[in-house]
Symmetry: C2
Subunit: 366 residues, 2 copies
DNA sequence: AAAATTTAGCAACAGCGTTGCGTAATAGGG
DNA sequence: CCCTATTACGCAACGCTGTTGCTAAATTTT
């Protein structure tokens, strides 16, 4: 949850979230681990740990005997103390994932959506899918909320789908409100790629630097994680990476411009030349690195994963040879750690992140 | 100043900075203005205003008589209560600017730097320039520090120039340390374009959204302001916007790739076809908007300002026609409000921002 | 058995924004 | 002229935060 002013409740939430981030990224930890990782004083850590233990979010897991002195109490996150459900709404399918506090996917399922589905279709499919998940698993108040990741354009702040590409019936739909009323749970609405990059960031914790998640799946998009939070841009419209021009005299794109990355890439892919398609994507990725200087590039999306070795090789090759070489300029390239579930799982983690992640302070606009 | 943990001193600094941001962007304000602008409670605002008044950062400026009731006290920032000096280090020149707390430039001067100047050359030129400024103006402890904006690559966090493009003698130079010792003032080192965008953001306050400052001056770079702070990337190397490929089969660039924005742009410019050069730049700008969804595009740099009407027209045209039209998707395009001083002034404002700006909370890496 | 070392929490504290309420300063109505 | 409504604003008490100073507990080493 972002807020505009800082008060003592913000302090509590912030420092508590720092400890949770440690717990999420290591199997076990002790008080001194947290002290060095966060910079909090030992006494402050004691108080935070006491609170988290009382809330059932962490628990002790034995002791560690150091060479000398009193043994240290070892703690661990309680992964199944909180859950969230994430939904990936694509053009023809709905994918749901049940994710625990540690970012692990417990259950995932895909169901078809009717061609040109309406908001009502989606709400019912969501309800049915969630019912199916909770049929053989009792949430008992541990379900934090539902995250929805879908194609844009949309308005994240107001929970509004503005105009989902290629879908009629989706103009200015207040999906967050509708879903909250229909499901009786808090709902978080965001672009698919933004949800995806959140998944990678949440699972990697504080060590995760600036990153992009590239998604190739009936279109090419990018989700950005910059400065410790998702970057959505001024109108939740960041990530239209497929519509950046890489070939001034290239073929005309559906967006009206010439030589967009997406149209150049797709022509190569449709001609069966996956190697060239991958190289074109890699040029775009290097453009992003030159512009934004990212620490991580994560590759995802059904069309990419189908030829994952070719894409991974091409992007790695380009990142290591086309960016000016320097020992300090390192970027790691990897396939999404969650495969096809990354968007749905990330949407769930956005809900967990809002509640248990490190909060941001966003000054009021105006 | 960024920190890793939140304590009560952070609260004070943060809320105080919110009030300062209001004071910086309006001529005068009263308590109720701050309450609605920040979301702080009236009582909290009273306390903050008392502290800021005691520090001499703001002062009362009469009263406003509302239609009815007790008159409200009107406050204003005291612009000359704090100053900073900014330096723009280019390949052949050093530009200095004296900037006050309100972001106004009081004095600016350019001096030549010897071809292939050394760190010692620069330190002496800085010292001489600062002495000249303080000759006819007595700082009396109001000088907060010195900001240096220069070409990269450099390491902002450690104050290290790694390898300034086209300058020998500049490999792994700990410039921040050297300058602090030589000048006896706190020094802030950053890339030129990042300093530049900070100038625009500082002067516009909380209302300034995600933005890029495009600089065309013996190379093309971009400085980013995202989510309320400068975006520097994982290795202070963001902004190499000129080295993004826009023409896959284009001419070879000095960086080794083909069809970089910079080489395509420069060929047109060198051929005297400024209109085409501007259109090429505009394509790159639209690429940035598609990727990052920015609210502001600011144009700067000597080579651009020389033909500012052509560039402004081309970029405005492209932004308004090549981005999918939608009434909610608005981006304003403007020339830098500070002209040739923007980098130097921005470097100064980075110093002021570190002290009096809204602080960020950056979790410890590791 | 005594000393050294490490872990951990209790208790007092300073400082933050919040809340409740009283007071000052003004305009308008009787 | 006085009273009331209205607006501005701060004092005082409060709950809460992390911090500091110190004590206690648990263990190994001497």
């Amino acid at each position: 949850m972002t807020r505009t002013t800082a008060d003592v409740t913000f302090l509590r939430g912030y420092n508590q979230a720092l400890v949770m981030a440690v717990g999420r990224t290591v199997p076990t930890f002790e008080r001194s681990t947290v002290v060095t990782a966060t910079g909090l004083t030992p006494q402050a850590v004691s108080k935070v740990i006491a609170r988290l233990t009382a809330d059932g979010l962490i628990r002790s897991a034995g002791v560690r005997r150091p060479g000398i002195g009193k043994p240290a109490v070892v703690y661990e996150l309680v992964p199944d103390s909180r859950y969230a459900i994430g939904a990936h709404v694509a053009r023809r399918t709905l994918r749901l994932a049940l994710v625990d506090l540690a970012g692990r996917v417990h259950h995932s399922a895909v169901s078809p959506l009717p061609r040109d589905f309406t908001p009502e279709h989606l709400l019912h499919a969501l309800r049915d899918g969630i019912d199916a998940i909770t049929a053989d698993w009792e949430p008992r108040g541990r379900l934090t909320g539902v995250g929805i990741g879908m194609i844009g354009p949309l308005d994240h702040g107001n929970g509004l789908v503005r105009d989902a590409h290629g879908l009629r019936h989706w103009h200015d739909v207040p999906l967050r409100e509708l879903a909250e009323a229909h499901l009786g749970l808090p709902v978080h609405l965001d672009k698919d790629v933004t949800a995806g990059v959140t998944a990678e960031a949440w699972r990697r914790g504080g060590r995760f630097g600036d990153a992009v998640l590239i998604m190739v799946e009936s279109g090419i998009g990018g989700g950005f994680w910059l400065g410790g939070t998702a970057h959505r841009g001024a109108h939740t419209n960041a990530g239209e990476f497929g519509h950046t021009v890489v070939d001034l005299d290239g073929p005309r794109c559906v967006c009206g411009r010439h030589g967009c990355l997406e149209v150049v890439h797709n022509r190569a892919a449709e001609a069966g030349d996956i190697a060239r398609a991958a190289r074109v994507l890699a040029v775009g990725v290097v453009n992003l690195l030159q512009t934004l200087d990212l620490a991580h590039v994560v590759l995802a999306g059904a069309d990419l994963l189908r030829h994952q070795r070719a894409y991974l090789a091409a992007v790695e090759e380009a990142v290591h040879t086309e960016v000016p070489r320097a020992d300090w300029l390192v970027t790691d390239v990897a396939l999404s750690s969650l495969g096809a579930d990354v968007i749905a799982a990330g949407a769930a983690m956005q809900v967990l992140d809002r509640q248990y992640g490190v909060p941001g302070l966003v000054p009021r606009q105006g």
